[in-house]
Symmetry: C2
Subunit: 320 residues, 2 copies
């Protein structure tokens, strides 16, 4: 068993976090991950406040003992109301993202909640530590969905952040199996956050069409777009082509907003329109070719990582 400070802080069997994802990670996915001994996160960013409350209550019924939490995007229009619901419902773990870690950390910490913040540069990780979070998630350029502006990858983010802060570092972006987890631990991370791999599981609430597209994606089928707004990594599709065409001719943020329109991620990821939807997913999509149960994903990643770590001294003797 791999035991780090992340196990201790969040009381986990495995230092593995299922990333909170819009339209993908509701209570079913979070509960399945939680039951397998990892941290399941309900992604609040595509919910109304009352829907978030309903998901929290469902996971409480389903999984009274496991460890789960909520991912709360701070810039979200409902963030304030959701923070109140999180406190009312006595959620024990919150991962905040997309805004200042100062905004909610002390309110949550005062209520006994364990808090991690998702960020994308070592400098911002220092701000997270100063804000008092328990851990920081460093999310690289290869990750799906909203992405940092500086385009730092997991490979450079993790060791530089480990050197910059004392709190434990959770590596995110491009990790989809036990090899990636072992790599993150070798670089000094105390845990991993995994999104894309969990999007393609039975308990994910992604539309079946979208799951099928992930399974069929080649390694080069995702790309980062909307650098002039909030950068996002998506699978290439006809809507993506329109965005890229506009970006190449120097379209303004206003024009890009018009092309995006309303409910683009819902149309694609939840309703399954593969032509007109915005399909947020990470580069790891190219590596994924099956649709297992989320608990089996946790088991396989933990087991493979443990095996690789146990075998690493053998590499010194030349058996590769």
């Amino acid at each position: 068993m791999i035991t780090t400070r992340i196990n201790e802080i969040f009381r986990l069997r495995h230092p593995i976090v299922q990333g909170g994802m819009i339209w993908v990670s509701g209570w079913r996915l979070a509960a399945a991950v939680s039951k397998a001994g990892a941290l399941g996160l309900i992604g609040a960013g595509s919910m109304t406040p009352e829907l978030l409350r309903a998901h929290i209550r469902k996971i409480k019924n389903e999984d009274a003992e496991g460890v789960w939490g909520v991912n709360l995007p701070i810039f979200f229009q409902y963030a304030e109301e959701m923070a109140r619901i999180i406190l009312e419902e006595k959620v024990r773990v919150v991962f905040t993202s997309g805004g200042s870690p100062r905004k909610y950390t002390s309110r949550f910490k005062d209520a006994g909640i364990k808090v991690a913040h998702v960020t994308a540069t070592p400098e911002l990780a220092v701000k997270c530590e100063e804000a008092g979070v328990d851990a920081v998630v460093m999310e690289g350029f290869e990750a799906g969905g909203h992405n940092g502006r500086d385009e730092l990858t997991t490979m450079v983010l993790v060791p530089q952040t480990v050197d910059a802060v004392k709190i434990p570092v959770i590596a995110a972006g491009g990790i989809f199996d036990g090899r990636g987890m072992a790599a993150a631990l070798a670089m000094g991370a105390a845990g991993v956050q995994i999104g894309t791999r969990f999007a393609a599981t039975r308990e994910s609430s992604a539309h079946d069409n979208f799951k099928g597209m992930i399974l069929n994606a080649r390694p080069t089928d995702t790309f980062l777009i909307l650098r002039k707004l909030i950068p996002a990594r998506v699978i290439k599709n006809p809507w993506y082509e329109r965005v890229v065409e506009a970006e190449k001719r120097g379209a303004s943020p206003e024009e890009l907003l018009r092309i995006i329109g309303e409910k683009r991620t819902k149309i694609g990821m939840f309703e399954g329109d593969l032509r007109e939807g915005e399909l947020q997913i990470g580069q790891a999509a190219g590596a994924i070719g099956d649709l297992p149960a989320a608990g089996d994903v946790v088991d396989a990643i933990a087991r493979d990582c443990e095996r690789i770590m146990a075998e690493m001294p053998g590499q010194l003797l030349g058996n590769r």
Copy 2:
């Protein structure tokens, strides 16, 4: 000692390759790396054919026993003439890049040369294997200088390529210390290619001004530009700002070519004009703060990687 197929193929003490870099890796750097038991590469991409011959002859005099080679960019105007010189001078190792691996591999292999090709997608790695190379270098988005169009990072490139080919995989991009090397090996790589860390060494032929800028770079100080031409990662400077401004308003490839003009990398990297030069370097620049001898870099990376690998089973017991 870490012993992989890369040690065997290239007859190295350490499975570490110093990447061939324009203006940075002449015979002095390659010889210093070679003497330390790693593979030093002369970067031919900024040389005339006769200068390449002179560098080859100097390293032969300096280091008759060590293992060194030449990095040959296939798209380079002098590639054909340089290939002839490589054969005439009986160079024993060639890393090709920036073009089809079919172009020179069999000619070099027929002459007994060990050949690796640098590429940036798992699909292209399969083409390299079909072309008969001995190893493939998978270079991620975080790497400096010319970069793949698909923007795949080292973290996703390495495991997917290990699954796609039988030849050994050398990981490149974002690796600057023993932690990154251990991570690459955990993902299944048989070796690492390191550029940026070697650019900031005493034996590097980068201008002192440029070396100083690498030492002072923050993690977020590089960016990928020129996606409409050949993408390149550079340190941000006034020339970079002009390029980005043009790109944001949708400048054509022709206009971008005018902004680039002539000799831009020489002006910056070799002559030290930090305002008007194109300063190619990797994201790892943000992690580098000293200017050691190249041999000491090899020693430290190999030693730290060995220690991390030896200690990895200890992580299973919870000492992180």
